[in-house]
């Protein structure tokens, strides 16, 4: 049952990803991307991490995609400009190389995944996992410095964005 659900969601995720690439209209691309974010959020839910799932919806689908949509609408890119059909430049040599590389990655991922596990978890821990408290404890004890660095990064990004936008 769960395998079926994961496979279904996986197919959906890959299909939406392909639709992002092959939509002629930039807004349609962005919309399929929202769908992709949503499917990923459901996958995160299935991995018991509610908090990250809703964060995915809020941050990706809610904020970033909204922002991208705003930019697209502001630039008024209704039709693809001077690119033509995206399907035209589909197959080139380097793409095949990249695909082969990732096929290898898939095989390795499937083969080596059991090694990465430290052991089966207790059912108590499963229920606890994904709760906000777990992440909060980590952030404010061990992960404090990276967390603060992330805030510095965000501030830098805001300053940079404002500077670029103000330049002309």
């Amino acid at each position: 049952m769960e395998t079926m659900a994961i496979l279904f969601l996986g197919v959906l995720a890959i299909a939406t990803a392909f639709l992002v690439i092959f939509s002629k209209n930039t807004v349609h691309s962005a919309l399929w991307m929202v769908g992709n974010c949503f499917v990923l959020a459901v996958l995160f839910l299935m991995l018991n991490s509610q908090f990250i799932a809703i964060l995915q919806v809020i941050v990706y689908a809610g904020a970033i995609m909204m922002f991208i949509l705003y930019a697209i609408m502001m630039l008024n890119l209704r039709r693809e400009q001077d690119e033509g059909d995206p399907r035209k430049n589909l197959v080139t040599g380097r793409i095949l190389l990249v695909l082969l590389f990732f096929t290898g990655l898939v095989i390795m991922g499937v083969g080596f995944s059991p090694i990465a596990l430290k052991g089966r978890m207790a059912s108590q821990a499963v229920a606890q996992f994904g709760e906000v408290n777990l992440i909060a404890d980590y952030i404010f004890s061990e992960g404090l410095i990276p967390f603060e660095l992330v805030s510095v990064l965000l501030t830098a990004a805001v300053v940079g964005a404002v500077y670029i936008a103000k330049k002309n």
């Binding site: 509610q50 809020i58 904020a63 705003y70 609408m73 906000v132």
Partner: protein, 327 residues
């Protein structure tokens, strides 16, 4: 079987039908209150004091011709109202309507779900709902709609911030994202007394997120002649309309839950208190709409970025400081 299937389904049906009924009558209430504030009567013809008006409107909208403009983006045009209404209705799932009641020897909770991330769920899906507005405006192939959609996205990017900050200071007080926990935390003192600044910021930015006057930038009748829904007609328009009123109802419920102590109150049962408070907030929304003129677009942005956001952040810092040193 009974616990996992029948009770949730019955609960779902009852809560959704009651809420949708109330939302349909919110349209009647708005017209009535607006009328009386403007020294008119409002709807009077259909039924006693126009009580059947929502049904008549529904029937009328259902049978109207469904126009899709020629240069519209057809698929997006059709899907936009659906996004809008479904993202609005899903919000009803996590609102705690009342304290658990005992019936047939079982304890029945008066909410559909109580996820540990309830308030984030609402923030996330409220944002998703505005995709309907944006896409509806964009896909109409109409300049006014386009401007409306653009404004809607700018509004949602801006006002989401101060709203989230106001919510976070409440979450800090109660130490949980779950709406039920937030309500139980307010048993002795309501959050609007403990967090008056957050309360005001939430009210203002919530009104802005609802796209209601004085912040109704996306539909601004006098500037954009109804903005994002210019090209919409028939049932599609009705869905947008219904989504707006669902958001208003959810906003009332959310203010009640976060700041007005949810179902807590003397004498009456919890559910009644909850609906009284929600009704008062919805009434206040209409009252504000009837009183204030629309702000200019740049003033709306100024209000958010130069006033509400700094105030909300300062409030958050102050809350943290107080909790650190005094509690």
């Amino acid at each position: 079987m009974i616990d996992f299937f029948i009770i949730p389904v019955v609960k779902l049906t009852i809560i959704f039908s009651i809420c949708l009924f109330l939302i349909a009558y919110a349209t009647w209430l708005e017209r009535k209150v607006l009328g009386h504030i403007q020294l008119r009567y409002g709807p009077m013809r259909v039924g006693w004091h126009g009580l059947l008006q929502p049904i008549a409107d529904g029937v009328k909208n259902f049978f109207k011709e469904d126009v899709v403009p020629d240069n519209a983006d057809k698929a997006v045009f059709v899907i936009a109202p659906v996004i809008s209404i479904s993202a609005a209705i899903i919000l009803l799932a996590v609102i705690p309507f009342g304290e658990p009641i005992h019936m047939f020897g079982k304890e029945i909770t008066l909410y559909i779900a109580n996820p540990s991330i309830g308030i984030l769920f609402i923030l996330g899906f409220a944002t998703l709902g505005s995709y309907g507005t944006i896409l509806g405006g964009w896909s109409s192939g109409n300049k006014y709609g386009y401007m409306g959609g653009l404004r809607a996205s700018a509004m949602i990017i801006s006002y989401e911030l101060s709203m989230a900050f106001a919510v976070i200071s409440v979450v800090m007080m109660s130490g949980s994202f779950s709406l039920v926990d937030i309500v139980t935390d307010q048993e002795t003192i309501w959050n609007c007394l403990r967090q008056p600044v957050a309360f005001l910021v939430f009210l203002i930015s919530g009104t802005a997120e609802l796209n209601r006057t004085p912040f109704d930038m996306p539909e601004a009748e006098s500037e954009l002649c109804c903005g994002y829904n210019v090209e919409y007609s028939s049932m599609k328009f009705a869905l947008f309309f219904l989504a707006e009123y669902t958001h208003m109802f959810v906003f009332g419920a959310l203010v009640t839950t976060l700041f007005l102590g949810g179902w807590h109150g003397p004498w009456l049962p919890g559910v009644v208190w909850f609906f009284i408070k929600t009704f008062l907030i919805v009434f206040a929304c209409i009252w504000v709409r009837a009183t204030f003129p629309r702000l200019r677009y740049d003033k709306v942005m100024k209000l958010e970025w130069k006033f509400l956001l700094p105030v909300a952040v300062l409030n958050l810092v102050a809350t943290g400081g107080v909790m650190l040193f005094f509690i």
